[in-house]
Symmetry: C2
Subunit: 387 residues, 2 copies
């Protein structure tokens, strides 16, 4: 594989974009990324999306968006891995460039979720779980995560308020991200008073859906020269692992085996240990997922991630800053786009563009995107190479 | 890119498999391909599928099928490019192996279409077209193709019966393919008497939907040694091009620009001319598509593909044999699986396994898979390397 780099990034705000269609959002993100990269166009388009067949009655997003953004005749297809579709598109772009077949690739994540009613979105999101053996029994996606959280609290003796720091950190960081969905600080009282969704998950444990698009430009590393004003962003590792799609099939549902495998392989590829990671954009679809990710990736002992959070170690000044731009919780979770937003945000940190939530001397950042309740997990590690 | 080869093939019959779920069909095809390759497992799974979110309420097929077939922890994701999803999965597998990242990849195409009522399938298939600018106007997928066929007949002076040889050849070849959906010979009278679907397309112009799965094993070419009994199947070219998704946006709707671009690039990569192709598994979703493909790929002049067919040149004994195992028309068209069936069939020809429809001395075969009404078009060229 030849080494690759991220040359440009682009994103739309995550919001209820009733005035923009899916293709409008996609174009906005791709054009922003191309402009950021100093390019007019690219050779191929890899689209991450989960829900457009169900919510927009539109398949075939590769050709649709390639046509709309003027990529006439060019390679384009969609990849889908539930909520990990965004990172899957990034990895598809990386493999295409690494193979030598493609010189400049766009990885785009796009999702349009708010044009339909909530119950339809809930049903659509449930297609990430096993239709025959989970959804058929009436369980929803948040319901599966609620089962995990309740068991985790029981096993490790945490109370619900102990998860508050995850949400508080995400909301605090999103205040400084103009692309975030939510811009309101919260405290423990607000966290505890929030309406229940599926016991013990309440509204402030859960990430909000939204419309949005994010894009990155992937190129061979040798084509990018670091400059005084901007480091070269090398892709040190791109990995993925899967686990059983049904949660009940797992030997140990409280350990994200796919996160462990994917992160371990990423550390090996990058030749480093978890201690070398300066920030970690993880997949906090629910507070319990943030906890399980930190543990599976080696940042906390089993059952101890809430302690890490309670001790302030997940803030931008902490030992392992997470969700530095708001995370899924407050930047928002436009499902098929989320994995690309995470990469965009890691690049912003490595470029030093994050203002009050900038992690000091950030050189190596990790992003992890989860599909289903831990079934498909992508890990990317990026490094800033200075002039 | 390092050279790659197809080591194994597997398929299920295309049929109404009411007794088997999508994952059952997938497993049957993958296990057959692994057995054919002499392997116990592989490193990654790339799934081509179009309709499962809509018809089966199931997304996330990568993790779902990886889990079901015992690919625990392994890389897996779904690619979607409408009816070209199968070839998109094959290309994703080829790029992954070519990059050096993956050693053995499974490309799987799978589709389960007959568990739901026909009108729902028609609506689901329409998601391959532009939801906002085509489907919104009430046009169906067959309706779009009917407009093209009527215009073609008007422009070039053909009558409907002139398209009969495409269907007659497909049905005749499928008689000898145990995996084909239809096993009945037809003649011109049957073709002309067939019930109308969307004027001028009648039932025997159109390919039948069906349930099915097909799989191929992609490996580095250097890992395969040709033997007396079986040639090595080299991938000489894997290409794709896109065109506007809406047919009305094209300057010349009767010329498949994406087929032309994709085939031209494939010929260049393979270093050969159309005359070198011994057989061509093309995408005859409708007879008009067979005609347009032959013309765009250089096998007939504009407007002259029906003449090629009328002169018998598309049969296994002709100048450019097409649909040698039945094509979409008679092998059947389980949409997201079709592109993989085509590759399986080319490999069967190159191995000399096709009995009465074997193309004599077949050394180089081409497959072309079309998504939408010509919007995404993949071309693969394979070569048999003898001992």
């Amino acid at each position: 594989m030849r080494p690759v780099a991220i040359l440009g990034i682009g994103q739309t705000p995550v919001d209820e974009h009733w005035e923009k269609s899916l293709r409008n959002l996609a174009a906005e993100a791709v054009f922003a990324a191309l402009q950021d990269a100093g390019l007019e166009t690219a050779d191929a388009l890899f689209v991450g999306n989960m829900l457009s067949p169900l919510v927009d009655r539109q398949n075939h997003l590769g050709a649709l968006i390639a046509d709309w953004i003027g990529f006439w005749g060019k390679e384009a297809f969609k990849v889908e891995a539930a909520c990990a579709s965004g990172a899957a598109a990034v990895r598809a772009a990386i493999l295409a460039v690494a193979s030598g077949e493609i010189e400049t690739a766009v990885a785009l994540g796009v999702e349009k979720m708010t044009d339909t009613i909530g119950s339809q979105v809930t049903a659509a999101l449930a297609t990430a779980a096993d239709a025959d053996y989970e959804v058929e029994q009436g369980v929803s996606f948040v319901g599966l995560n609620a089962l995990l959280m309740r068991r985790y609290m029981h096993e490790h003796g945490w109370k619900h308020a102990d998860f508050a720091p995850f949400s508080i950190n995400a909301h605090a960081n999103a205040l400084h991200n103009p692309f975030a969905r939510l811009h309101d600080a919260i405290d423990v009282q607000a966290f505890e008073r929030s309406p229940m969704v599926a016991t013990p998950i309440n509204l402030l444990d859960a990430s909000p859906i939204g419309d949005g698009a994010a894009a990155v430009i992937v190129v061979p590393a040798e084509k990018v020269q670091p400059s005084h004003s901007r480091p070269r962003i090398r892709v040190l590792a791109s990995t993925v692992a899967t686990d059983s799609i049904a949660v009940h099939s797992r030997r140990d549902p409280l350990f994200l085996q796919a996160a462990f495998l994917s992160a371990r392989q990423a550390y090996q590829m990058a030749g480093l240990l978890p201690e070398a990671i300066d920030l970690f954009e993880l997949h906090d679809a629910f507070t319990i997922m943030a906890a399980l990710s930190l543990e599976a990736c080696g940042f906390a002992e089993r059952g101890q991630a809430p302690r890490l959070a309670l001790e302030g170690e997940i803030t931008p000044q902490g030992r392992i800053p997470i969700c530095t731009r708001g995370g899924l919780k407050a930047r928002g979770h436009p499902v098929g786009a989320t994995g690309v937003y995470q990469i965009v945000e890691v690049v912003q940190q490595l470029r030093g563009q994050c203002g009050p939530t900038q992690v000091a001397d950030a050189r190596i950042g990790m992003a992890q995107n989860i599909g289903g309740s831990g079934s498909t997990i992508y890990t990317h590690i990026l490094q800033a190479e200075m002039w």
